[in-house]
Amino acid sequence: MSDFLSIKRELPELGIGLGLRRELAEQTLASTASIDWLEIVPENYMGLGGRARARLEAARRDFPIVTHGVNLSIGSTDALSEDYLRDLKELLNYVDAPWWSDHFCFTSHGGTYMHDLLPVPLNMEGARHMAKRARQAQAYVGRPMLLENISYYMQMPGSDLEEADFLSEVLERADIGLLLDVNNVYVNAINHNFDPYRYLDKLPLERTVQIHIAGHSHGPEMIIDTHGAPVIEPVFELLEYVLRRTSVKAIMLERDQNYPDFSEIIAELEQIRSIAGASNPLALRGKSA
């Protein structure tokens, strides 16, 4: 068994969580009965005070917190940013996060941040490069690291691996965990015309620590991972499929725009809880157990 899989066994079971967003913060923080844990975007809190810090302090009092970053830029050819890792580590210590995550992508290059999740060429050069940096980042931070599969809207030149094979290479070489976004699997499967279940079967699902689930929107030619709509049934089905094959420590609903009445978010969380309970009753204890 890899070191990471041994570590995974010891990680706490957080249950069903929600992203802490400024627009929903008040209702989120008041919903301790329905929300087991919170995920934060660390870049929105690192090195900041004032209202951001106050929100984090309030969250920390009542919820376990993990971070889900966007600017580690693990796929970039720039050197890993020491400033970023230092500030991230400080934040992780502050919230005592059991793990932390970022994405299989690059977000900065040549010192410029694009603040968007950009795809890398899916090939062995890229996989080795990403795995090496992931090992370095995990070692520096000193807490278990997960990377998330992104939605991507074009194939980068030089790609000669299927996405699932690329992710598997990185995960195994770096010996890190997977944050599996089932909505991203669905979005990519539609946009790039592949079978999402075959994709899932090729992944080392045993490395999945956390799952993201979200809604998406329809663009003129592609569907876009906006986190701005309710979760659709085929995405719930992917969640169920994964949960029948592996145990995970946490599931999180992403909702980042076009906010509905908060009761709709709570209802979606309950639906996720119900699927998790039915699929693998021992996998996630959460608040209802």
Binding site: E43, M46, L48, R51, T77, Y113, H115
Partner: protein, 266 residues
């Protein structure tokens, strides 16, 4: 096959710079090798993100420029790309960009640099990290002149002092209210304290007189300055009688305490 770095070099250009993108996509030879739909989609996602951010931070500049705002934002990011992991901080050099690269806008709206600074400072005040202070805030006996003179005023955790040539606060209000600005906005020197409310972390704005501004500047430069030294400073730089200046100073301190810009004494 190009290596990873050269691919990222190329696509950074294609996704974030309009001229190289259009040149590459319009070249018939290159276009066959490029995924135009994908490139345009990512360019659009990056642009939307930048535009949404700048709209949220600079609503007055957007109200002033209308449809031209989008082009300005894209030019800004092409000239001064984001150099920090925090998304908001990518907007911090906007006033500098206007000053250095937009002479025509400056000629038409000579207050625009100050207005951009004014809008940026609001966010900076709300988010600034501050070191926890050990200062014990107390209420000195104001009837005891010696005790008062040796006490030091304590400012709110985050205070930015600004001297503007234009009345940016009223310009900002007019723009947000949808009012049309006069064809030529006249200069009107304005002194401002922009600071963080210690309770709700919101930004507060206070217009100051010149003397108040100078006193606060002195205090900010040296937080150890006590009331006695501040009174002496005010008397020295004011042409009114000493008695009048002292009274004016005491009134000022009361006003600043009521506004919670001075949060106590130590």
């Amino acid at each position: 096959m190009p290596d990873l770095k050269s691919i990222q070099d190329t696509y950074l250009q294609l996704w974030t710079r309009r001229e190289p993108r259009e040149a590459a996509l319009s070249s018939a030879a290159a276009a066959g090798d490029l995924d135009e739909r994908g490139i345009r989609l990512y360019a659009s996602l990056i642009e939307i993100g930048r535009l949404d951010l700048m709209r949220s931070i600079y609503p007055c500049i957007e109200a002033l420029l209308g449809k031209k705002f989008k082009d300005l934002v894209l030019s800004y990011y092409e000239c001064m790309p984001a150099d920090h992991y925090n998304l908001n901080k990518s907007a911090r050099r906007f006033s500098q960009y206007l000053q250095e690269h937009e002479p025509k806008l400056l000629e038409r709206h000579p207050f625009i640099v100050e207005l951009a600074d004014f809008e940026w400072v609001e966010l900076e005040v709300m988010e600034a990290a501050v070191q926890a202070r050990n200062t014990q805030v107390s209420v000195p006996d104001l009837d005891d002149a010696l005790a008062f003179a040796s006490a030091r005023p304590v400012l709110a955790d985050v205070v930015y002092l600004r001297r503007y040539d234009y009345p940016v606060m009223s310009i900002s209000k007019s723009l947000l209210d949808g009012e049309k600005l006069p064809r030529r906005v006249k200069k009107d020197e304005t002194f401002m304290a922009i600071y963080r409310d210690m309770q709700n972390h919101e930004c507060r704005f206070l217009e100051l007189g010149e003397l108040s501004f100078d006193v606060l500047t002195k205090l900010q430069e040296n937080p150890e300055t006590n009331y006695g030294e501040l009174i002496k400073y005010a008397v020295n730089r004011c042409s009114d009688s000493a008695e009048e200046t002292v009274q004016e100073f005491l009134n000022l301190i009361n006003e600043l305490k009521e506004a919670e810009l001075i949060i106590g004494d130590s």
